[in-house]
């Protein structure tokens, strides 16, 4: 339960050894209904503690509630009942603007601003935070290198002049720009071709290890979950049905886990 990340990565952990201080995100009996009726429950009885530095993958079919769960963390959606805590504060009582500026967010196709250049997209949050220009310029260059884009070649391009994989890289750079401690990713690599996807997954896994951020990653792809997660949470019809380390996940005895496992064997060879 306590060593999901490599030793020595998280320096602050050693400074604050108590477990409570390491819970970054917590769901306490969270329910989410569309029209406030329990018949339309999207999420029910969600209890979940996400520790600092974990890469938690939320796995599930379409409609299992994984994206909803993700959006409850940065307040894009509000829980019908129960509470979500981020860094010990209930999301409902936090200023959503300040909360979100401390949480990176990456979605499919990047959700980049089409009227902004790569630089302007990446610089967005630092600019909102009022950073000085020189610091923003340096940060953008650093981030572009971090996600594998040559700043000289791509800085002034518009999103439409990039490939899908490049747009996704910019999306990751933008989310990381103000160095948020938490990163939320909603099927970020879902729209990419298999080769580019595998390439980005590999690089991202490496990046995640180096950055030591708390990452919550939504996917319906078991292979991706096994590659990237330090912990996999399986959602089925709005409930958490499995919560395991990747190496133990396939042994979990739940029909939904087995359904995912069998589709994995039939559909694709082992990575």
């Amino acid at each position: 339960m306590f060593t999901p990340w490599p030793r020595g990565v998280n320096r602050e952990m050693n400074a604050k050894p108590e477990i409570l201080g390491n819970i970054t995100i917590e769901f306490r009996d969270v329910e989410y209904h569309v029209h406030g009726t329990s018949r339309d429950a999207i999420l029910s009885h969600i209890r979940l503690k996400i520790l600092r530095g974990e890469t938690v993958v939320l796995l599930g079919r379409s409609g299992s509630g994984k994206t909803t769960l993700l959006k409850l963390i940065n307040g894009l959606l509000r829980a019908t009942s129960g509470s979500v805590y981020v860094n010990g504060r209930p999301v409902d009582e936090s200023d959503p603007i300040q909360l979100r500026r401390g949480i990176g967010y990456v979605i499919q196709e990047g959700g980049l601003f089409p009227h902004y250049s790569v630089t302007e997209n990446v610089a967005l949050v630092p600019r909102l935070q009022g950073w000085e220009d020189s610091r923003i310029v340096a940060r953008v260059e650093e981030l572009m290198k971090l996600v594998g884009l040559d700043p000289y070649e791509y800085a002034q391009r518009k999103p439409r002049e990039l490939s899908g994989g490049q747009r996704q890289r910019v999306g990751v750079a933008r989310a990381l720009a103000a160095d948020p401690p938490i990163l939320l990713m909603d099927e970020p690599f879902g729209a990419l071709d298999p080769v580019t996807r595998a390439e980005l997954q590999r690089e991202f896994a490496e990046l995640a290890r180096r950055l030591a951020k708390t990452i919550v990653f939504v996917t319906h792809d078991l292979r991706e979950a096994l590659r990237l997660g330090t912990r996999i949470i399986l959602l089925c019809e709005g409930k958490i049905v499995a919560d395991a380390k990747p190496e133990e996940f396939l042994q979990v005895e739940h029909p939904e886990v087995q359904a995912f496992a069998s589709s994995f064997e039939v559909g694709e060879a082992q990575p």
Binding site: N74, L76, P96, I97, Q98, L99, R100, R101, I103, Y105, I107, Q108, E109, G110, G111, L112, F113, P114, H115, L124, V125, L128, R160, R174, L184
Partner: protein, 210 residues
């Protein structure tokens, strides 16, 4: 008298009328834009109000233009004979396309972009000014373009309430049963409309982002 002879002999008069016409259109469009675009911006986050505002603007549009000019004449402050009444009527006509396109331009963006903007911690105002407005500008301009062409046409009727413009030739021509005189008003009005349409279309394409 042929059309060309009339044009040649009334050059100055036609030019003056064109000037008055342009003045009416420019005034009306400026006011309509100053009302329509900010109103559309306010309506982005107010769905119920949006339906009411668009409904009122649509009803205004359905009133026959000649009748609208007529209705305005007896009104205190707004009404009377002349330029002011004409401009007000033209504003009411231009409002719908501008308002509708502003609302559509600001609300029908890629939902992923809006979600990203919200998730980045942008405030409503920042999203409006930095995302919705630049991305919706070409749609807003398309509305302004439609409104301009309509206004140039409807402004010919302003002559009926004594505001002058190219419509004065048309009314005079109808009364005199003279095609030449009608055309002296109609041709410059049509040319104005075409020119405005082309010029605004050019700007619109330049502003288009995706």
């Amino acid at each position: 008298m042929s059309v060309w002879e009339f044009f040649a002999s009334h050059q100055r008069e036609i030019l003056e009328a064109t000037g008055v016409h342009l003045f009416l259109v420019t005034m009306a469009m400026t006011i309509a834009i100053l009302i329509g675009v900010p109103l559309g911006m306010i309506l982005v986050k107010r769905k119920s109000l949006r339906a009411i505002a668009l409904g009122v603007a649509s009803i205004l549009q359905t009133i026959p233009s000649l009748a609208l000019f007529g209705f305005l004449i007896p009104l205190p402050f707004l009404g009377g004979i002349g330029t002011r009444t004409a401009v007000i009527a033209l504003v009411l006509y231009a409002l719908l396309p501008i308002l509708r396109n502003t609302v559509v331009g600001l609300t029908s963006l890629d939902p992923a972009v809006l979600e990203a903007a919200e998730a980045m911690g942008m405030t409503e105002a920042q999203i409006l000014w930095r995302v919705r407005l630049p991305l919706g500008l070409s749609v807003i301009l398309a509305g302004i373009r439609t409104a301009t062409v309509i206004t140039i046409g409807v402004a010919t009727i302003a002559a009926a309430i004594g505001a002058g413009g190219l419509g004065s030739f048309i009314f005079r021509g109808v009364a005199m049963v003279s095609d030449a005189v009608i055309l002296a008003g109609a041709i410059p009005a049509a040319l104005l409309a075409l020119a405005a349409d082309a010029a605004l279309g050019l700007i619109e394409r330049k502003l288009k982002v995706v």
